[in-house]
């Protein structure tokens, strides 16, 4: 380990020989990423969509803490709802949508609400109002005694059952957000990042993955000045 790489700071820790490593990954779509700030880092590569592997210059004894990762964009991207929306503009407070066939469009009040294609039997979507915006929770009753609750949206195929949507609100207008079909992780969908496997001891590698916040699908980020993944580790030196 090159001791010349380490510089003093005023930060302190109860862990002996703690070192702070901060770096930035500059994504480049499906192409090879580069490093922004890269001190302590030897290289970065793209393993697959949205998955990056960073290799440190040195091995360390242990991982103490991780910070971030935080996504940064050149400008705040215009965000889109991850599916179709239907707004209760007339404030009817209670709306019921019923599909006559699995995967079919739900129709109510002259508006069309397209729904995700589900796999279970007897699926139900409960919609409750939260501050004027409706949160959608989908429960898949697959025929077993314990239904599975899926937060927000689903993206499966091969429908086998009917779907009923019931929306209830207070006294104000509200909006229902549902996916129409499989969510694909559009460029303007909200993205999030998280660490994957981290091995600072043997292979000196850190995996960072970018995900669509709704679908969980891996998502690449286009190259642009200011589009960065900010990462930070505290490690213990050998």
């Amino acid at each position: 380990m090159a001791s010349s790489r380490f510089f003093p700071s005023k930060l302190q820790s109860l862990v002996k020989y703690a070192k702070a490593i901060d770096f930035q990954i500059a994504p480049n779509g499906a192409s090879t990423p580069t490093l922004g700030s890269r001190e302590g880092v030897a290289s970065v590569s793209r393993t697959s969509a949205g998955l990056f592997q960073v290799t440190l210059q040195d091995q360390y004894r242990a991982l103490v803490a991780v910070n971030g990762p935080t996504l940064a964009f050149s400008s705040a991207p215009a965000q889109t709802a991850p599916g179709y929306t239907w707004t209760d503009a007339t404030d009817t407070d209670s709306l019921t949508f019923t599909a006559t066939a699995a995967g079919a469009a739900l129709v109510a009040g002259g508006a069309t609400l397209k729904v995700a294609v589900l796999t279970g039997v007897g699926e139900a979507v409960a919609v409750t109002s939260v501050g004027g915006v409706v949160t959608v929770n989908i429960t898949l009753n697959t025929g077993t005694s314990t239904p599975t609750t899926v937060q927000t949206l689903v993206n499966t195929t091969s429908p086998t059952g009917l779907l009923t949507v019931t929306a209830k609100s207070g006294t104000t207008a509200f909006t229902v957000f549902l996916a129409a079909t499989a969510l694909t992780g559009g460029a303007t969908d909200a993205l999030t990042a998280q660490y994957g496997a981290i091995d600072v001891v043997t292979n000196k590698t850190i995996n960072v993955q970018v995900l669509n916040a709704n679908t969980g699908a891996a998502a690449d980020i286009a190259q642009a000045s200011g589009n960065l993944i900010n990462c930070g580790l505290i490690v213990q030196a050998q």
């Binding site: 003093p8 937060q151 709704n214 930070g232």
Partner: protein, 166 residues
């Protein structure tokens, strides 16, 4: 030593320096409380100290303002470091930023996501954006003492040059 309890008294614990990898590193961290559509409140403020421990007026090393729904602008104070620009990062020091990270604390479970954007080294500003991915809407956070946004910026240049860093 009277009152010394090494297992509970952190000031007697063996604090070790954390070295940074690469070059000299400066870190600035802060916490603020979103107040829905009102101006956010700073919780953790670093700056020059008065003899009795209070902050010298106007010496805060950063400030925050609500830009629009779900968007906040953090501005680093000039005295934070050397270099051109209000925040001292300097127009030519983009490469000196080692990392900017944000974190969200919520009183109840949420699906809100934070990102940053519009990092402007010349102005010493950056934007923190809060989006509800379910709706695609940049979203304000209700006022609550347990609803906070924290940030930390680390650079290899700058730092408080003429104030006492607490």
């Amino acid at each position: 030593m009277a009152g010394y309890n090494p297992s509970t008294d952190s000031k007697w614990k063996c604090w070790q320096p954390i070295e940074c990898v690469g070059t000299f590193e400066t870190s600035l961290a802060g916490i603020f409380l979103p107040q829905s559509t009102s101006a956010p409140l700073q919780v953790s403020v670093t700056g020059a100290k008065t003899p009795n421990g209070g902050l010298v007026a106007g010496s805060e090393l950063w400030s925050v303002a609500r830009l629009s729904a779900g968007k906040f602008t953090v501005t680093l104070a000039p005295q934070w470091g050397a270099g051109a620009g209000a925040g001292g990062l300097g127009a030519a020091t983009t490469s000196k930023i080692k990392s900017i990270r944000v974190g969200l604390q919520m009183n109840s479970r949420t699906n809100l996501k934070l990102t940053i954007s519009n990092v402007n080294t010349a102005a010493g500003t950056f934007e923190i954006d809060c989006v509800n991915p379910n709706t695609g809407i940049y979203t304000d956070i209700a006022a609550n003492s347990n609803n906070s946004i924290s940030f930390e910026i680390r650079t290899s240049q700058g730092g408080p040059s003429n104030v006492q860093n607490n």
